[in-house]
């Protein structure tokens, strides 16, 4: 793809992104309508068929599948995501209300995961088998092997219940952000660490690094200048990928554990109530985030890679 000019590169990415987004929308729509019956779910257990049918009609769910599909997509291209079945408000409003909390949480977590993971990765990769390397490696493998919700619960028990240092959950002050962001940062930072560590390790074994070392250049300089530049591509793409991973589910599990008012918690509620318009809007918005992030990562990769090659 490197031979493409920048505008055509961007256009190609945009086209691919839209195709993916369209497919996501189709899948979520079809799955939702095949599996669920929101009207039955909304009615009391002993409601008669007639009462359920009445509610189904009020919700517009008694139209044929094709009809619903066509009207949904027709509205969608006009930016109308439909009304929430339960809240009687536009689904998009519901999702956009919850979005800032998710963006705040994931960006803070990403910064810490990226900085922490990369720094430790370079230091550990430069000195394989050192105490630092072993300790960091052990911790990152541990972090990667525990389920993320479990790590969240562990933090809550230690820092909120036992030590009473932080609030258990919710979003009432900046302190509320510490634990969920840490839980996310630890898990994603662990993977950044692993990848940066092995990239550094590989770079260190390359002739130029050996030469630099044999010339007696201080390690600080080798790491800070040469190695950093050559592992930057790995770092950036890894961090970008971790963001995709967060927005693809990890952040949502953490949101539920910490009662964080973002779109993860919203999706869980919408799914359990089969509020399709909200669920669809949330998935599409999250999908758009993933696609845009991917695009940015690709763009950065392209730019950096070209520059690295040129250098």
């Amino acid at each position: 793809m490197n031979h493409l000019s920048l505008p055509s590169f961007l256009l190609a990415r945009l086209r691919d992104g839209l195709v993916v987004l369209f497919l996501v929308t189709v899948v979520i729509f079809v799955l939702g309508h095949m599996l669920g019956d929101p009207a039955a779910l909304m009615s009391p257990v002993d409601a008669s068929e007639q009462e359920i049918a009445h509610l189904r009609h009020q919700l517009g769910l008694d139209r044929s599948f094709a009809e619903q599909f066509a009207s949904y997509f027709g509205s969608l291209v006009r930016g109308d995501f439909g009304q929430s079945l339960w809240q009687d408000r536009p689904a998009l409003t519901v999702v956009l209300e919850a979005l800032p909390a998710t963006v705040l949480l994931t960006l803070v977590a990403l910064v810490f995961a990226g900085l922490g993971g990369s720094l430790l990765g370079i230091l550990a990769g430069a000195r394989p088998e050192s105490a630092l390397d072993r300790a960091a490696n052990f911790l990152s493998i541990t972090a990667l092997s525990v389920p993320n919700f479990w790590l969240g619960l562990l933090l809550i028990v230690i820092f909120a219940v036992k030590l009473r240092m932080l609030p258990t959950s919710g979003f009432s002050s900046w302190q509320s952000l510490i634990m969920p962001a840490s839980a996310l940062a630890i898990i994603h930072g662990a993977r950044v660490f692993q990848l940066v560590r092995s990239a550094t390790f590989e770079e260190m074994a390359k002739p130029y690094a050996l030469v630099a070392r044999s010339k007696g250049l201080p390690e600080r300089l080798i790491l800070g200048k040469h190695i950093l530049r050559n592992t930057a591509v790995t770092m950036l793409t890894t961090v970008g990928w971790e963001y995709v991973r967060m927005m693809g589910g990890a952040a949502f599990a953490i949101e539920v554990v910490f009662a964080w008012p973002g779109i993860g918690q919203l999706m869980i509620h919408a799914a359990s109530r089969q509020d399709f318009p909200v669920l669809q809007a949330a998935v599409i918005i999250a999908g758009a985030f993933v696609i845009v992030t991917n695009g940015i990562v690709d763009l950065l990769y392209r730019t950096l890679d070209m520059r690295v090659r040129a250098a």
Binding site: D46, E49, Q58, V161, P167, S169, A259, P261, S272
Partner: protein, 497 residues
């Protein structure tokens, strides 16, 4: 050097203590946790318990439940039955809605007509069956019209909340609710909390708690942690294994009855002796102890508990008697047993999957091979509605039956020949159930329903399992009592500081 180290340590620990103190200070606000955020606070639209924690303290109905579950006046001073299809309510005077609108006959009639309007979207449709509408007679008298005789109208009126005619016409009523209750709506931070403050003009005794918040915490483990950390005061549904970890807990029998319904149209299950045998084969007491840690007890072979209308005091849980069960099966010609499929929903009822497996294992002991089949909720519901005479109808179905009406008529769909969920047909039961809903004399109704349960005791419609408990987790400072109808009444709650 040494002194400065000590000094630094002292400073550091002071700083830490300051931080700890700041974070651990108990919130002045009383906080109640719910696991899902309400979709609307319009008290006429929703039924789920999580919504009612907020809306139940904002709105009031004409009638209410007393301490023993009896129907008592609330916004009505009195009521009487005028004729078969009309009930007359005399209203309390000097009651105002939070926004200043007067509560009068016009408002009461509006409220009834709003919820019964076909165009109005409500989950409460089956709660307002047979109510046709209402009209104001004078300023403080309102008539409610029913579709023929409706013996449960007073019960229905305990749940039909009053709304102000002007404010309720606004589209935003569900997010800015207005009622006559002890608390008024303050704000709703989506995904976080709903805040309510005391209604200074409340017509009854003013509550002692000035303000409270309903906070959304989806994860049960996090709810418990927040309770332990002193951040919240009340958790609605603790798990049995969590109860002892809470600062305080209250476990009360709920109006929820778990059972395994028979398809009495199926060849082997058509014989009443077989259905009695299956009841004898299950050790309900051990089920309550092992799976629910005692937070539940064997029900008295009826989906009712003492004090509810139609409760038959002579009936006791079937004893656990596998020997007698085998004997009955032998008499019925099934000495070698047979095979059945037990259907249960996934993730719907607390420990429903485990209970199904437990029962299957117990039935195996008397020679009946039971395969447990799990279904997604909607599929499970559809299955439940297939008539028992059809080939794809279920054999056995696990479920819970709730009876927030405290009235045996609530079971009608399960045991009458044409009931939507029924897999049993007995002409006498049909007669008695029909009489029960057509008779206004509550004592006579009580007798009809008692007879129904007596018939079912010889020819059961289900394996009667447990009356389930609700387990509330409380902060040490909270002085709160659950109500029989599971409503969370904050007005009667106190906090010791």
């Amino acid at each position: 050097m040494r002194t400065s180290l000590i000094k630094n340590l002292a400073l550091l620990s002071a700083g830490v203590f300051f931080l700890l103190g700041a974070a651990a200070k108990p919130s002045k606000l009383v906080v109640i946790a719910v696991s899902t955020e309400p979709s609307t606070l319009d008290g006429q639209a929703v039924i789920d318990r999580n919504s009612r924690v907020a809306s139940g303290n904002i709105f009031e109905s004409l009638l209410d439940r007393g301490a023993n579950g009896e129907v008592i006046p609330l916004l009505a001073e009195s009521y009487k039955n005028l004729n078969d299809a009309t009930w007359r309510f005399t209203l309390r005077k000097n009651v105002k809605f939070h926004n200043g609108e007067p509560f009068n006959a016009e408002a009461a009639a509006f409220s009834v007509n709003r919820i019964t309007d076909k165009a109005y979207k409500t989950q409460r449709a089956s709660y307002i069956q047979k109510i046709k509408g209402a009209k104001a007679v004078d300023d403080y008298t309102v008539d409610v019209m029913t579709d023929g005789i409706n013996a449960v109208l007073p019960v229905q009126m305990t749940q039909l909340v009053m709304v102000p005619p002007v404010a309720a016409k606004d589209k935003s009523f569900g997010v800015t609710p207005v009622g006559t209750g002890p608390y008024k709506f303050v704000r709703w931070d989506r995904g976080r909390e709903i805040v309510l403050a005391v209604n200074k003009n409340y017509w009854r005794e003013k509550p002692s708690i000035k303000e409270f918040s309903v906070r959304v915490i989806p994860d049960p483990q996090t709810q418990l942690s927040a309770l332990q950390a002193g951040e919240i005061d009340l958790v609605l549904d603790l798990l049995p294994e969590q109860a002892k970890l809470a600062p305080k807990f209250i476990s009360v029998p709920a109006t929820e009855f778990s059972y395994i319904q028979f398809n009495a149209h199926k060849k082997e299950l058509a014989d009443p002796r077989v259905r009695v045998a299956l009841n004898l084969a299950v050790d309900k007491a051990t089920l309550a102890k092992a799976l629910y840690q005692g937070h539940g007890k064997p029900m008295d072979a009826q989906h009712l508990s003492k004090g509810m209308l139609g409760y038959n005091v002579r009936l006791k849980p079937y004893p656990y008697d596998p020997k007698q069960a085998r004997q009955l099966l032998k008499e019925a010609g099934y000495a070698d047993g047979f095979e059945l499929v037990l259907n249960a929903p996934i993730g719907r009822y607390l420990k429903g999957e485990e209970t199904s497996e437990f029962v299957a294992a117990q039935l195996k002991e008397v020679g009946i091979k039971v395969k447990v089949q799990l279904h997604e909720w909607n599929a499970y519901r559809k299955l439940g509605r297939i008539p028992g005479t059809e080939a794809n109808a279920f054999d056995l179905k696990y479920g819970w039956n709730s009876n927030e009406w405290f009235d045996a008529s609530r079971i009608v769909s399960h045991i009458t020949c044409k009931g939507t969920s029924s897999k049993l047909c007995d002409k006498r039961i049909d007669e008695l159930m029909a009489q029960g809903i057509r008779t206004l004399d509550q004592n006579a109704r009580d007798r009809y329903y008692q007879e129904v349960w007596a018939i079912l005791n010889k020819s059961p419609h289900a394996i009667y399992l447990l009356q389930q408990n609700l387990i509330y987790g409380l902060a040490q400072r909270l002085d709160w009592q659950p109500r029989l109808d599971d409503e969370v009444n904050v007005a009667a709650t106190r906090v010791s500081e």
